[in-house]
Subunit: 367 residues, 4 copies
C-alpha cells in the first residue's frame, strides 16, 4: 500500500492502491449477488481502512439477495454487501490519531451525519441521514473495507474472532434488552432468529432473573436451549400467555424483547406482560397490524419501545463489558463458519432456516 | 350523625344514620339515571365520610347513562354515580388519624388492593383489583360519600372549589404529561375534550416550550385557545403532520399527549414525532386499529406509553404543587356549573359536544 | 391461641393469649440484653402474628447491645430486639385477607405512616414517621412477633430458611445496587461486612460485568472471594484507585456500592469512578468528613445516592425474583446458625469480626 | 479573506489572512490582560471562522485575570480569552457542509476528543481530554475566532444578540436544572451570581411550581426578584432551612440548584430537601468541606449530582427551545453591555460585585 501524504499505513504491506480485491457485490437490480474483483478502497479523511477478518451474514443480506421490495427501493447497485464484520486496521486517513495500525476493531454499521437533531441529542442511532455500510455504501464482504474511524470499536483479544465479527447484530440485542429494566426481571424473547438468540444470552448475562424464549421452529428452540433460556415455548403447540403466567407465579412478565415482527407474538407478548411492563420491539413486521390498545396497552400501563440500531456508543460499551468479562458467551448461536467465497451457500442456509448465525471468512484469512 | 364507638364525627351535625340523602343513581340495566333518596353511608374502618361540595361529570358518566356495551359488562345497578368530587370530612372511621373533621379533600377514584404485584411495585394505578368510585362502588353524585382515607387528598383553600372538584380527571392529564419529558419540549395534545384541555394547561405550566392542540370541533379548539395553546390545528382542514413540522422548525415533536383514541390522531401523532420521541396514550380507542409499526415506531425509535388513572400519589403531589402555586389555571375549561338535580341536562350538554367540563353542585350546597 | 372475634388463628395451636414466650429484650438503659419471659403479642387490626422461624443478627443489634450514643437517643427499654426474621403466620388481625394462616413470610422492618409526603410519593423507605421493628417496637428475637400485614412478604419454599431470615439486610444491598445502572457495569463494593458481601452477590446476579470488593480484614476478603467477587482488594496493602483503573482497562468504575462508611473508602471510591459514574452510599460514617468536591464530584459529573432501607416494595420484588430463580445465592455469607438462647455469643462473634451473617434459631424451632 | 482550496468564505469580505485583529490576550504569567493585535485565525478542517458579534464575561475570566492558583496551573500564555460568545460564520473549513456562511451561531466552549469513554457514552461534557476555548485555546474576546463546526449552535434571529452571547453559561444553568425533576417541583437556587440568576429563570420556564433564591448580596437578591423568584432569602438575615420549610408547607424542597460553592449553602440546601430530593451541585467550593452524611444524605435518601459544562448537545436543544419559544427571558440578568476595549472595567465590575452578566461588544460591532 502506498501511503498518501495524509494517510499512514502498515509497513511491509503491498500497495493496495495498485491492486484489486475480491468482494461480494450486489451487481444488478435483480436477485442474487456476484463475487467480483473491485478496487481496494482508501481511507479518506477521518476513516480507517480495514483488512476484513470475519463477517456475519444477516437477514438483511438475504432480503438484498432476494431483491425484495424494500431492497428495490433502497439499494443502488453495484454495492459491496456486508454490514457485520471485524477487521484489522491497515491504513489511517487524515486526522485519525486514536487508533493504531494493526489494531483489531469491530464496526458500527450506521454512518451518521452528526448534525441532525437526533445526532445532536444522543439519538444518533435514529439519525435522519443514516447511511449503512453494505447497504448504502460499500461494506465488509470483501478483503478490505473503509469505515469512519468513529465507527470502529477496539476489540480486545479475549473476544473470539467469530464473536467480534457479529457485534453489530449483537448490539441490536443489547440495545433491545437495555431499553428497559433487566436486573431481577422475568423477561421473554419472542422469536429465536440470531438476534433473538443473542438476546437470550444478553438478558441472562445482564441480570434477568429468568428468560423465556418462544418460536415455532424446533431448530431455533433447540438453539434457545443452548443459550440457556430458562424455558422455551413452542407457540405452535402451547399458549404463550398461559405458560408465561405459570412460569412467573401468575405475576406476568416484566418485559418482552420482540424479535419476530409477528403480530401474534406482539399481541401475546403484551398480553403476558404484568401491569407497567414493557415490550421492546425490534422485529420488523411485514405489514401494518392492529392491536386491542385498550386491553393490551392502556389498561395495563404498558410501554412499547421502537428499537433500531445500537446506541452510539453506549450499547457498544455495555456489550464490550459483557463480552470481555466473559459474562456473555454467544458462541452457541454461531452455527456455521465458511469461506466468503461460498456466500450463496450461506444464503441458502438462511432461506432454509437451517442456521443460527453464519460467519464468513474472507479470501486469504482461512489460516 | 350518630358517631359509632370507633368513628368520630363533626359536632352539631344531624345524625346521618337516621336519615336519607339525595343521589344520582344508576338504578336499572337500561339507559338513564335517577335521582333517588338513598341511605347516608357511614365511614367504615380506614374511611372518611365526606359531605360532597362539588362534583365533575365525565365522559364515563355518559357511557353509563347511555348503557353502552362497556357499561353493561361492568356496572351492577343500583350504584350511585360520580367519580370526580371534592368534599368536607364529616366523619372519620376507625384508625383514621391523619385527617381532621372539617378538612376539604379531593379524591382519587381508584380503590386499590395494596397487595397485588402492581400495588406492591409502585404501580397501584394499574392494580389488578381496582374498584372505582361511582362505577363499582357508590360515588359522589350525592350529598355524602364514604371513601378510603388514603384516597383523600387535602385541598388547600387557594384552589377554587370547582377546580378541586375535578382533580381526578386533571390527574389523568398530569399523569399523561409527566409520563415523559416536558420541560423545554415541543408537545402536541391530540383531542381537546376536558382532559385534553387540561393537558394543554398542564404541559404549559410544567414547562413545555410549546404546546399545540388538535381537534375537529371549533368549540373545543376555541377552548384550547383559551387554555393558551401555542397553536391550534383543525385537522378537518389542515395536515397535523405538516403543521407540526412547520411549528417546530422541521425538528418534529418531542412528545404527543393522545387524548382522542382516534386512529388517525395516533398515526399522525407518531408521524409528527421526532426520532426518539414519545406518544403517551390515554384516549380509549373504540376498537382495535393498525399501525405501520416500521415507519411510525421502530425506524424512529419512538416510545408509546399506555396511560390510565393517576400515579398514587406522585401525580397528586405534582398536581397539588402546580395548582397551589398558581402555575396552572384550568378554569377556562369549566364551562358549566349547575345543580346536581339537573344531571340529565349535563348529560345532554356532553352528548351535544357543547361543554368543556361540567361541574355539579349537590343539594344544599348552592349557597 | 384464642381467636378474638375479628382475628382468625391456626386450628390446634395453644392459646397464645394465655401464655408467655421467650424473647431477647433490651431491658435497661445499659449495655447488654436479657432473655426474658414476655407476653405473646396479638395481631391487631391489619396485622399478622408470626411464629418466628429464624432471625438474623445485625450490626445495629450490636450497637443497641453496647448502648452506644445512637442507642441511648433512640431506644426506649424494654423492647424486644430483632428486625431480620422469617416466620409462619399463626393469626390474622381484623381486615387481613391476602395472607393465609400457615404461610411463611419474611418481613420489612420499617413500619411507615402511609400519609407523609415521602410515603405518598413512592419514597416510603424514607417515611418521616418510620418506626422500626426491634428498635422502636417489639421485634423478632422471640417466639412470636406481630407485624403489619403489609410488611409481610410471602416467601416461596425454594428459598432456604436461613436466607429467608435475612431478606431485610439483603434488601439493603439490593436497594443500593439497584439505585443506578448494574447491567454490564464494572462495580466495586467497598466494605465486606454482611451487607457488602450480599451486595457482591446481588451485583453479580443482577448482571454487573465485573464486581470488585475491598476491605482490610482477611476474614472478610475471604468471604468476598466465596461470594465470587471478580477481584478482592486489600486496601491495607494496595491502592484501591490504581487497582480499579487496572481492572477496568483504565476506564474507571461505573459505580461504587459503599458499605463501610469509611471516609477513605468514599474518597477512593469517587476517585476510581469514571466520569458520570455513581456512588451509592449505605455505610454510615461515624462522624462528618470532608471531600474534595471539585475533583471527586463536580469535575467528573459523579452522582452520590444516599441509601437507606428498601424500596417498599419494589426492592422486595427484585430480591424475590433473584432468589426464587436461583440467580442469587447468599449462603456463603451465613457463617453461623445458633440457638437464639445464645444471643450474647452471637454478639461476641460480631464484635470480634469473626462472623459474616449470624442466624438465630428461636426456642422450639431447632428440629 | 482569501479562501483556500478547501475552505469557503463570504464574498466581499476583506482577506483575513493578510491582516491582524484586536483581541484580549492573557499575555504573561502575571495578573492582568492586554489588548493586542494578533493574526486573524483560519478555519481548519472541520472548523468555522466566526466574526464575533458579542461575548460574555465570566467569573473564570476574573480568575485568569487575577492569575490565581488555578490559572497558574492551567493557562499557557499567550492565549486569547473569552469562552462565551455569538458570531457570524465568515469561513468554513474543509468538510463543513451543514452550516452556511452568514449564519449566526452560539458556541459550546468544550472542545472534546470524541474518543474517550466519556465521549463514547453520552458524557462528552466530562471528556477527559477537554480543551476549553479562551482557556486552553484562543477564544472569543477578539474580532474573529475559529471553532469546531460541531461546537456551533445555530441561533435563530428572535433570540436577542446579548442573550445569544451567553448561551454557554446559560447552558450551565439548564444542565443543572435538568439534572433532576423540575416540572411541578419546589426548587431553590443557592447563590445568585449570573448562573444562579439564569437558573431561576430556567427553573421557572421549565415548569417548577415555585423557585426560591438565596444569597447575601442585596444587589444580587434584587436581580433574583427581577428574574421572578417566588421568594428571595437573604441568608445573612434569616434561616434558609426554616424559610424553605415554611414556603413549602413543611414538605421540604424537591431540589436545590447549588450555584455558590459555599459549604453552608450546601449543608442548608441538603437540610431543606424533602426525603428523596436532589441537590445538583455546580458552584465550585474553594476547598474541601465536610458534611454530616448520615443526617443530610443517607437518612433522607438524597441524591447529589456533580454538574459541569453542558450536555452536548441535549442541553443546547433544551435551551434553544426555551429561548426561541419566548418561555425564558434572561435579559434582566444582563446588567452591562460595553465595548470589548473596556475589558478591564468589566473585570472591575465583577470584582466589586456590582454586575450581573456583562456582555462585551467587539471592535467594529458597536453600530
Amino acid at each position: 500500500m502506498t501511503p498518501t501524504t495524509a494517510a499512514t499505513s502498515a509497513p511491509g504491506r503491498p500497495a493496495t492502491r495498485t491492486r484489486t480485491m475480491k468482494a461480494v457485490v450486489k451487481a444488478a437490480a435483480a436477485p442474487g449477488a456476484e463475487i467480483r474483483d473491485v478496487p481496494v478502497p482508501t481511507a479518506g479523511p477521518g476513516e480507517v481502512l480495514l483488512r476484513v477478518l470475519r463477517a456475519g451474514v444477516c437477514g438483511t443480506d438475504l432480503h438484498i439477495w432476494s431483491w425484495d421490495r424494500w431492497s428495490q427501493g433502497r439499494i443502488q447497485p453495484p454495492v459491496t454487501l456486508g454490514h457485520e464484520f471485524v477487521g484489522e486496521i491497515v491504513e489511517r486517513g487524515a486526522g485519525v490519531t486514536n487508533l493504531a495500525i494493526g489494531e483489531r476493531v469491530s464496526c458500527e454499521s450506521h454512518i451518521v451525519c452528526h448534525t441532525c437533531i437526533g445526532c445532536r441529542t444522543g439519538n444518533a442511532h435514529v439519525c435522519e441521514n443514516t447511511r449503512i455500510l453494505g447497504v448504502d455504501v460499500n461494506g465488509g464482504f470483501a478483503e478490505y473495507v473503509a469505515v469512519p474511524a468513529v465507527n470502529a470499536w477496539r476489540s480486545p483479544g479475549n473476544i473470539p474472532i467469530e464473536v467480534a465479527a457479529v457485534m453489530e447484530p449483537l448490539g441490536n440485542a443489547v440495545h433491545t434488552a437495555f431499553a428497559g429494566p433487566i436486573s431481577g426481571c422475568n423477561l421473554a424473547v419472542t422469536g429465536c432468529g440470531p438476534i433473538g438468540l443473542f438476546a437470550i444470552g444478553v438478558a441472562k448475562a445482564a441480570g434477568a432473573a429468568r428468560v423465556f424464549a418462544s418460536d415455532i421452529s424446533p431448530y431455533r428452540l433447540d438453539l434457545a436451549r443452548k443459550m440457556k433460556a430458562d424455558a422455551v415455548i413452542d407457540v405452535s403447540k402451547e399458549s404463550f400467555v398461559e405458560r408465561c403466567r405459570e412460569l412467573t407465579g401468575r405475576a406476568g412478565l416484566d418485559g418482552v424483547l420482540e424479535m419476530s415482527g409477528n403480530p401474534t407474538a406482539v399481541r401475546d407478548g403484551l398480553a403476558a406482560l404484568r401491569s407497567g411492563g414493557r415490550l421492546s420491539f425490534l422485529g420488523l413486521p411485514k405489514e401494518p397490524f392492529d392491536l386491542d390498545w385498550n386491553q393490551l396497552v392502556i389498561f395495563k400501563g404498558a410501554t412499547i419501545h421502537g428499537i433500531i440500531g445500537r446506541r452510539m456508543y453506549e450499547t457498544w460499551y455495555q456489550m464490550h463489558n459483557l463480552l470481555s468479562s466473559g459474562r456473555l458467551d454467544i458462541r452457541p448461536t454461531i452455527t456455521h463458519v465458511m469461506p466468503m467465497e461460498r456466500f450463496d451457500e450461506a444464503i441458502d442456509l438462511l432461506r432454509a432456516g437451517k442456521a443460527g448465525k453464519v460467519v464468513l471468512v474472507p479470501w486469504g484469512e482461512e489460516g
